[in-house]
Symmetry: C2
Subunit: 122 residues, 2 copies
DNA sequence: CACCTCCTCAACCAATTGGTTGAATACGAC
DNA sequence: GTCGTATTCAACCAATTGGTTGAGGAGGTG
């Protein structure tokens, strides 16, 4: 699971980590600030931050004994790009398939109409 | 990790599963067709498909003894929505922060200019 | 210096994951 | 009914994950 995209998806597959990302949207925060809302140990949150950092979603600087955590929003674009590409392509395919089916339906209706006309001729 | 979004992200955190999704974009496929490119067992691929199915990314019908796999492209929109929301919000915040910093810089430049003018007056 | 705060490292543990093999099911063909 | 093909189920295994506790390390403050 070592490639970049896998690490990105895996990082956001945990609700606590998604929560942390949501929190970081409104501004940088220290580890203890981030840990406060949860009833897990500070070390557990520290581990989550390490995962987010290794995925490139977050960066940490140093400020006295604090380690402010910063969201790297641009990286999120990498994921949307992958997802969007697939979504678009698949939906385009279905759209074309629908068009083909619509044509087939139209032909079927035309045939039925022809049959009906033939019946009326009786 | 039981919530919907977590299952979605986790499902795409595996390169083989992302590969399968990519393959399914061009059309439905059976389990053995999907397994062919990989040197893992058919059962392993079957397990991957189960993960994708439980995440809602894929659906399976029945056609004789085959089980054609179908990509549910619409579900991908759920992920893009989450990511995009966060990305947008964070970037908007940075944009505003940049604006504030720009104003501070302008003020600083103005002060420097004033100092320079004062010096010239000497 | 000693002390307190913020945070990480290390070792451990239970649960989950991605893989295996072997047996079982479902269905069409002979 | 028997055979072959397509797929899943079950049991197992090693590696990873998300959590814990305990012991530091880094850096201000008395």
């Amino acid at each position: 699971m070592s490639d970049r995209l896998s690490r990105l998806f895996a990082a956001l597959a945990d609700p606590t980590r998604r929560d942390i990302v949501t929190r970081l949207v409104v501004g940088d925060a220290t580890v203890s600030e981030l840990a406060k809302p949860y009833d897990v140990s500070l070390q557990a949150v520290s581990k989550h931050l390490k995962v987010l950092e290794e995925a490139g979603l977050v960066s940490r600087s140093r400020e006295a004994q604090r380690r402010p955590v910063h969201l790297e929003a641009a990286v999120l674009a990498e994921m949307t790009s992958w997802i969007h590409r697939h979504q678009q392509a698949a939906e385009e395919r279905y759209r074309r398939l629908d068009a083909v089916l619509a044509v087939l339906d139209a032909d079927l209706d035309a045939d039925l109409d022809a049959d009906l006309d033939a019946d009326l001729d009786d």
